[in-house]
């Protein structure tokens, strides 16, 4: 492992100029918020009191905890405690900040709030931030580059937006998609593409797609209740569950051949259990893989 060209593989963690934030909210319980943030700077002994004070206030302001500087961690909400842990990591001025699912232990409203602020915390300076998460939504909101890992293997690396738009394999597509990707076997024929388990569902054959077996992936938000353009593929499904998350509706449904589908729509829609619906897929939104899972074409 090289650090600015220097081999640090055997170097002690304390010498590596890195700061860490964990899933659990790790703070010094007997220190005030102010002293928690100041502690790594005091240990470093590089700044005088005035400079430390300035740095503490600057970081606290960025993390929205400035009014809480005289409190103890136990007097903070979960979200504030995690902001404090991030603030301490930032204050240190380390060249590398590592965060391990820092929002996993927060309830959903706080997670939503902190998630939307993430980019603001880390943007605009020289340091590198590595953020580990199982939530595609967090990776997308943070932006920048992402590396997709699965079973210890690096599957794809690139700009988050590009990895999302053109995943290199079915596995990558599944990892970066939430709710889960609709994936199914198809047979590419001369004049059309037929869904294996449900031959009534067909897609136009797109240019250059090799004949024979393949797999299609369709994201839940690309299964719309109305055709969004000419040439949309229609499928008839029976609703097995409709889930409302407040501002979005998730429809779980089954097509005649027994394939399970998940569609996601904005707003609250009412679909009755057992109701038959038509769903539409714009063929240009389909992710195409070979049967081994390698991407043939991005959506």
């Amino acid at each position: 492992m090289l650090w600015n060209g220097r081999d640090v593989t055997r170097e002690d963690v304390r010498k590596r100029d890195a700061a860490m934030v964990y899933q659990q909210f790790v703070n010094y319980p007997s220190f005030t918020v102010y002293d928690n943030i100041a502690s790594p700077l005091r240990v470093q002994k590089q700044l005088d009191r005035g400079a430390i004070d300035q740095r503490v206030r600057e970081v606290a302001a960025r993390m929205h905890i400035e009014p809480l500087l005289s409190r103890l961690p136990a007097e903070l909400s979960g979200g504030q405690q995690q902001r404090l842990a991030i603030a301490r990591a930032m204050a240190k001025g380390a060249g590398l900040v590592l965060l391990d699912e820092p929002l996993a232990n927060l309830d959903y409203k706080l997670r939503e709030e902190l998630r939307s602020e993430l980019r603001g915390y880390f943007g605009g300076d020289e340091r590198a931030v590595v953020y580990a998460t199982a939530e595609p939504r967090e990776a997308l909101e943070l932006g920048g580059h992402c590396a997709v890992l699965h079973e210890g293997k690096l599957l794809q690396h690139g700009l988050v937006s590009e990895v999302y738009a053109t995943p290199s394999s079915e596995q990558v597509a599944r990892i970066v998609t939430d709710p889960e990707l609709n994936v199914f076997d198809v047979t590419v024929m001369e004049d059309r593409v037929q869904v294996t388990q449900d031959p009534a569902i067909t897609f136009p054959r797109s240019v250059g797609l090799p004949l024979g077996p393949a797999r299609f992936g369709v994201r839940a938000h690309d299964l719309s209740p109305e055709p969004l353009g000419p040439g949309a593929t229609a499928l008839r499904v029976q609703v097995t569950l409709e889930e409302l998350s407040g501002s979005e509706t998730l429809v779980r449904a089954r097509s005649e051949g027994g394939l399970e589908w998940t569609a996601q729509w904005q707003g609250t829609h009412r679909a009755e259990l057992g109701e038959t619906l038509s769903l539409y897929i714009d063929p240009s939104r389909v992710l195409v893989f070979d049967r081994a899972g390698s991407a043939l074409r991005g959506g």
Partner: protein, 355 residues
């Protein structure tokens, strides 16, 4: 099954202390699916305890089909309960666990057998019937707890207190599906307590939203989304929540930073005024023919949708758009407020007659 009614119910845990549940009247119709939704500590579990009979309210009455049951124990109220953690006899088989509430009531062997098999079939537990409960997964155990709630045909209602807490996140929706199906098929009165909006809105026809001991709104999931009656409801339901922006009034309009955003609600309005509008009900335009001038501060692509932070005077609003709409950060554009979905709030509560 029965109709449950809370009349002027209130509760405080200590004499002269603040109410954990503030005075409220609520009716739960026979066969309905209800959710009690709110953050932890909002009083929803207290209210559930009052309904079930585990807790005596400091004030008010509980009625089942018009009969006053306030002084009755849970057993005499005939209410079944499913808790956060599975409550089972580990040493018994799944069959005996399901049969227990029936045998307890003195039902005959054949009747018990028929009913247990019916419920097992419904919950897809038939294969597990002969197994001992102790070795099963948390999800299966919770399914059996649910079965114990369903097995008696004569219960007034089934109360569920965060029953999916122990279930693996990836399996939760399957149990939600089972619950919705059961309600659809059996039309049992279900009262479901949760802090999770997806669970509440998915399972319930009517949702009761609570915060700080107070019932803020009861309504369908659509109503909570389209017309939150309280700023808290707008914030708590939906992700992201509703925009809340201070406003002023002119003779005929509601103004934000001096710009007209909707028509003025009728009547005299004093107190702290806010406009509440969900990110979904705001639209960005390139041209000035619709909307008020705003500047784009931030853009976040989220796959299926996109979020824009825009500045209107000193205020920031969040706008949700389709995934492919493009506005550059720093760009000047125009923000349209959806008619009928832009509401005015006075001291946190919705003002009727808002456009």
């Amino acid at each position: 099954m029965a109709r449950l009614e809370l009349r002027d119910i209130a509760h405080s845990y200590q004499r002269n202390a603040d109410y954990a549940v503030k005075p409220v009247d609520l009716v739960w119709e026979d066969g309905g699916a209800y959710a009690l939704l709110g953050p932890s500590g909002c009083g929803k579990t207290t209210l559930l305890g009052i309904l079930s009979g585990l807790l005596q309210p400091s004030r008010g009455r509980v009625l089942i089909d018009g009969r006053d049951v306030t002084a009755l124990s849970p057993r005499d109220r005939n209410i079944a309960q499913v808790f956060q953690f599975p409550v089972l006899y580990d040493s018994m088989s799944v069959f005996d666990n399901l049969a227990f509430p029936l045998r307890n009531r003195g039902l005959g062997k054949r009747e018990v057998d028929t009913r247990v098999r019916e419920v097992a079939e419904l919950l897809e537990l038939t294969a597990e019937l002969p197994l001992r409960a102790s070795g099963l997964s948390g999800e299966l155990k919770q399914k059996i707890s649910l079965g114990r709630g369903l097995v008696r045909k004569d219960v007034s209602a089934i109360l569920l207190d965060e029953p999916l807490t122990v279930v693996d996140p990836h399996l939760k929706w399957q149990l939600r599906r089972k619950l919705v199906q059961i309600h659809h098929d059996l039309r049992v009165t279900l009262i479901y307590v949760t802090h999770d909006q997806t669970e509440a809105l998915t399972l319930a026809d009517q949702v009761v939203v609570m915060n700080a001991g107070e019932v803020l709104q009861r309504g369908t999931p659509e109503a909570l989304f389209e017309r939150p009656e309280h700023l808290f409801v707008g914030h708590f339901i939906g992700s992201p929540g509703m925009n809340t922006v201070p406003c002023t009034l002119s003779d005929d309009a509601v103004l934000i930073a001096g710009q007209r955003v909707c028509a003025r609600p009728s009547g005299e309005l004093s107190g702290e005024l806010h406009v509440g509008v969900r990110p979904e009900f705001l639209t960005l335009h390139q041209d000035a023919s619709r909307g008020v001038p705003v500047r784009v501060l931030k853009h976040r692509a989220l796959g299926g949708s996109a979020l824009f932070d825009v500045a209107l005077g000193p205020h920031t609003l969040l706008v949700k758009t389709g995934p492919r709409q493009r506005f550059d950060v720093g760009a000047e554009c125009y923000l349209e407020f959806s008619e009928g979905r832009t509401h005015v709030y006075r001291d946190g509560r919705i003002v009727n007659g808002a456009v």
